[in-house]
């Protein structure tokens, strides 16, 4: 008797933990079982598998009927998903390209600039993340010579850095450095990025990063296939700050 009650309770609990949502992709709707403590990333991956999507699956996100994006960092419960809820699986924007920054990256960068540059010298950091993912979750402060007019990264440090990146399967996503006054890309900045690859991002922070820790006054540029730098109108065009 007690066993039956227990089993029923367990079943009820399980039912509360698990439920189905409806995923719409390419006009077709399919149910997908989810768990309350499951990360939305997992739900997204399972939705992609459910429809057998092989073309650019990394560009897809889940959207609610109110048009809002379901953050991949949330769990099903935190995202407020409900049984039977209709979720649209579609590209997040038409295609991809924005780096998602971990929450501490921008404040940590400003802290490094303050500690190292001390409001009187240029300084640089490199933002890193898993190779192949559009995520920035690491920050590297290089060994470098510094002056009010520039910085020079130590070549031995660079060699070790490349090895470290290879071992950790990470890559440099963005180079960030300070300028004494206005934020801009100098001829030297144009010519010597740490990565000379189409799409690489460079950010220049004005006033030796003396201002508030935001990218609102920064110069942000993206390296083009032809070797020229394209200045973006705002950091939001290139990075997603949580």
């Amino acid at each position: 008797m007690n066993d039956t009650v227990e089993k029923r309770k367990e079943q009820e609990k399980e039912n509360q933990e698990k439920f189905a949502v409806q995923i719409v992709y390419n006009g077709v709707t399919k149910p997908l079982d989810v768990e309350r403590n499951q990360h939305v990333t997992v739900v997204l991956q399972r939705a992609i598998t459910l429809f057998g999507i092989t073309q650019n699956p990394h560009l897809l996100s889940l959207f609610r009927e109110d048009g809002s994006l379901i953050p991949e960092t949330d769990t099903v419960e935190r995202a407020g998903l409900k049984p039977g809820q209709l979720l649209l699986l579609r590209p997040n924007a038409v295609k991809g390209g924005v780096l998602k920054l971990a929450a501490n990256i921008v404040p940590s960068t400003f802290q490094v600039f303050e500690d190292c540059g001390r409001g009187e010298c240029e300084c640089a950091v490199f933002w890193t993340g898993p190779a192949g993912d559009e995520i920035v979750d690491g920050l590297k402060h290089p060994v470098h010579e510094r002056s009010p007019y520039g910085y020079h990264v130590d070549s031995n440090w660079l060699t070790d850095f490349w090895k470290e990146l290879a071992a950790s399967e990470c890559s440099v996503k963005v180079q960030v450095h300070t300028h004494p006054g206005k934020a801009f890309h100098s001829a030297t900045d144009d010519r010597w990025p740490i990565i000379a690859q189409d799409g690489f991002l460079s950010i220049v922070i004005p006033d030796f990063a003396a201002g508030p820790p935001t990218l609102s006054r920064a110069w942000v540029g993206r390296l083009q296939a032809n070797g020229n730098w394209q200045q973006l109108e705002s950091a939001q065009e290139a990075v997603m700050i949580p």
């Binding site: 006009g27 709707t29 109110d66 579609r90 390209g97 924005v98 799409g199 939001q236 997603m240």
Partner: protein, 434 residues
């Protein structure tokens, strides 16, 4: 120019699902081997809406490289059908033969053995063959398989949005027929290409008298497929006038013929903006500007702007400079996105906050691009008539493949996002809240 040149992007889109073992030639030949018969009696071709349904269908089929047979009587056109010149309808349709995609013939039905048949309205047609009827109203269109003629009525609606919807629905069925003859990479994908026995779409009624309307000054950003489809649709409202500018720096290439509705094979090499300005004149007085917007001389955008450009930062650039109303149309593989934006609504940066840096060739197909343009045209008309869609219909995400399914077309609000690259008013308010 070969069929492969014209169908490059359609083949690329098919590759989303077809087996990797298939060559481009095989996919191309498969599209070219589809034989579609279009049938109508005189009654259904006496109206402008019936003629528009037929012309649009033939054009969409031809732009997929398919063979089209016409089983229709000869009638005079009752209104403009650009890029066709005015004249006898059947004769003008026959001029589309090999004039969009090489090897895509339009011919009379003598000895024509069709794979599938499309019948206009209540035209009498008895056959054991696979056939659908196109029917519709002013703003709604449908496609129904094998329905008896008593359940349909002759085309007689005043406005032509429903005609163009039904044509797009039919072209979609022809494409799925072609896809069903190819081996797919994953059998699970077959669901996207199953026959839709009944499909329909409705833009919603507009209370509009038949009086002439001047849309005023409109800036058209891009002279590509979506803008061309929007203008193609607007030109089929003979009471509509407009003036303005059209911006694009591009030249017509063979790979545009699979979807650029105002373009014919003879137009290859011509400047897109000039081609469109000529096709739209004299009712639409569009100043062709062979440059991307914004260029040094573009000045302030008009109070109404329609954007059919794929480049996401260009959309943001227009949005940043505009204090008026924008409509944006885009495609992503088999889906379309259509939205409108004004100072009281979240902007296009909120809807598409992510830039495209890939720069790859975009896969496209005639009927998908056409849906994006048609939806944009309806938004513009509604705005100018004073019946703009509300917030709940600010965004349309539509995948035409299975419009028989309940959620193939979803009307959505646009949610403001704190990451909006335009930093519009709605996004800043959201940022403050968060």
């Amino acid at each position: 120019m070969t069929a492969l040149d014209g169908l490059t992007r359609t083949i690329l889109l098919s590759r989303d699902y077809v087996s990797d073992d298939l060559t481009d030639d095989e996919i191309c030949l498969n599209l070219q081997s589809v034989r579609v018969l279009c049938v109508s009696d005189l009654q259904n071709l006496l109206s402008y809406s019936g003629q528009t349904a037929l012309v649009t269908l033939v054009s969409l089929l031809g732009r997929m490289g398919m063979q089209v047979g016409l089983c229709i009587p000869e009638v005079e056109m009752v209104g403009p059908q650009p890029p066709l010149t005015m004249g006898p309808l059947r004769a003008m349709l026959l001029t589309l033969s090999e004039n969009v995609i090489a090897g895509a013939f339009v011919r009379r039905n003598l000895g024509f053995q069709p794979d599938i048949v499309f019948v206009l309205g209540d035209t009498k047609f008895d056959s054991q063959q696979l056939f659908w009827r196109l029917s519709g109203e002013d703003w709604a269109g449908s496609l129904k398989m094998g329905e008896t003629r008593t359940e349909s009525h002759a085309w007689r609606s005043t406005w032509t949005a429903g005609s163009m919807i039904s044509a797009a629905l039919a072209a979609n069925e022809a494409f799925k027929f072609a896809m069903r003859r190819l081996e797919l990479r994953d059998p699970k994908s077959q669901i996207f290409f199953e026959t839709s026995r009944t499909s329909s779409f409705d833009f919603g009624k507009i209370a509009w008298s038949e009086g002439a309307i001047d849309l005023g000054r409109i800036d058209v950003i891009s002279a590509g497929a979506i803008s061309q489809s929007a203008l193609y649709a607007l030109l089929r409202f003979p009471v509509v006038r407009m003036s303005g500018r059209i911006f694009d720096d591009d030249i017509t290439a063979p790979s545009n013929l699979n979807r650029n509705m105002l373009t014919l094979a003879d137009d290859i090499g011509s400047t897109k903006v000039q081609l469109i300005a000529d096709a739209c004149a004299p009712r639409f007085q569009l100043q062709p500007i062979k440059a991307r917007f914004p260029d040094a001389g573009s000045g302030e955008p008009a109070s109404h702007v329609v954007i059919g450009v794929d480049d996401i930062p260009s959309r943001w650039a227009v949005q940043r400079r505009s204090s008026g109303w924008l409509a944006v149309g885009g495609t992503s593989h088999f889906s379309i996105s259509s939205s409108d934006h004004s100072s009281t609504k979240p902007c296009c940066g909120c809807l598409h906050p992510v830039d495209d840096v890939a720069g790859d060739i975009v896969p496209t197909i005639s009927f998908v691009s056409f849906w994006a343009g048609l939806a944009m045209a309806v938004r513009l008309l509604r705005k100018c008539i004073g019946q703009e869609y509300g917030r709940d219909r600010q965004h349309l995400w539509l995948t035409p493949l299975r419009l028989d399914q309940p959620h193939a077309a979803m009307w959505l609000p646009v949610a403001p996002t704190p990451n909006c690259p335009v930093r519009c008013r709605a996004s800043l308010a959201q940022l403050c809240r968060s």
